[in-house]
């Protein structure tokens, strides 16, 4: 089976898609990503704006109706959910093989 060419997702994209399971505007995405990643991933404005434009182009997210015209609201699409699921499966497999070989790598499971 050929792997989807958008895999693996970057950590940034993974968290943005996760944040957009519920509709949110730009600044809210930043806050959600920071929260979801336990403060590990802090997106700066220019980086987030570029990521949003890119995800819109890939149709992984879409704009949704909002009252505030200056703050557009986005939500994940079916394609976005699918890629998120595929990346999750990929990482789940990586964790599974790590667990099987954990004793060799001296990692406590």
């Amino acid at each position: 089976m050929r792997r989807n060419k958008h895999l693996p997702l970057t950590e940034t994209v993974y968290y943005i898609l996760l944040a957009l399971l519920e509709p949110a505007h730009g600044y809210l995405i930043m806050q959600k990503v920071e929260e979801l990643s336990n403060g590990e991933v802090r997106l700066a404005a220019g980086t987030l704006y570029g990521a949003i434009q890119n995800l819109l182009k890939l149709k992984f997210i879409r704009p949704v109706e909002s009252d505030d015209s200056r703050r557009k609201v986005y939500a994940i699409t079916e394609e976005g959910k699918e890629i998120l699921r595929l990346d999750f499966e990929r990482m789940k497999h990586m964790i599974k093989v790590m667990e099987e070989n954990g004793d060799k790598a001296e990692v406590s499971i």
Binding site: T12, G26, Y27, L43, A44, G46, Y49, R70, R71
Partner: protein, 207 residues
């Protein structure tokens, strides 16, 4: 105060603007020139993004996102490309980019725009040559821009006097013919420079 400068290297431009800020000159606008205003506070961080926008709404959304996260838009228009931001939140982010690929990507956009400009100039220039509206021989032999009879056979002072007298006229005649080739060369140089900066930023970590 107004100053004229030209930068492709956005890091160098940021460095210069931040040095101006240290001396108390705050950037307030940019058209062909940079416009500065004297200010009392010297604590500013200026950062530059490179983007064009299709609609006014897109542009406003972009500015609002930056403002929400502590960066005030101080110069740049919807179609200007370079967008200048000033840090307004003391505790906030120190840069407008949080990863290397997005910091590098602005040079990719800059390079693409210059490439389009170069191609557009060629699109205008080629019909001018093929329809003979421009005498392409002049490009290879600028001597043809001088009309003084027997000029090139003259020697010594007589030559220099006639040559220098006609040069301003020759330059004016040539301006139209050389305009497009010069623009094409300039834009190609900008493309190469922006691509070099793109690769350098992408491959070498600047953080």
């Amino acid at each position: 105060m107004r100053k004229f400068r030209f930068y492709i290297d956005l890091e160098k431009e940021e460095k210069w603007l931040n040095e101006m800020a240290m001396q108390g000159w705050e950037l307030t606008g940019k058209s062909l020139q940079y416009e500065f205003r004297k200010m009392t506070s010297k604590e500013t961080v200026v950062k530059i993004d490179y983007r064009h926008f299709k609609t006014k709404d897109d542009f406003e959304e972009y500015i609002t996102l930056f403002r929400d996260s502590g960066w005030a838009h101080i110069a740049g228009t919807k179609t200007a490309g370079k967008q200048y931001f000033k840090k307004i939140n003391r505790g906030g982010d120190t840069d407008i980019f949080s990863d290397v690929p997005s910091k590098a990507a602005r040079y990719k956009r800059l390079s693409d725009v210059c490439l389009w400009a170069a191609i557009s100039c060629m699109v205008f220039f080629i019909p001018l040559i093929t329809t003979k509206a421009i005498n392409s021989a002049v490009l290879l032999n600028p001597k043809l821009l001088y009309f003084t009879p027997g000029l090139w056979e003259k020697t010594g002072a007589a030559f220099w006097q006639a040559f220098l007298f006609e040069t301003p006229f020759a330059v004016m005649r040539g301006a139209g013919w050389f305009f497009f080739p010069i623009m094409i060369i300039l834009y190609v140089v900008f493309v190469l420079k922006a691509q070099k900066l793109y690769r350098r930023t992408r491959d070498g970590s600047l953080f």
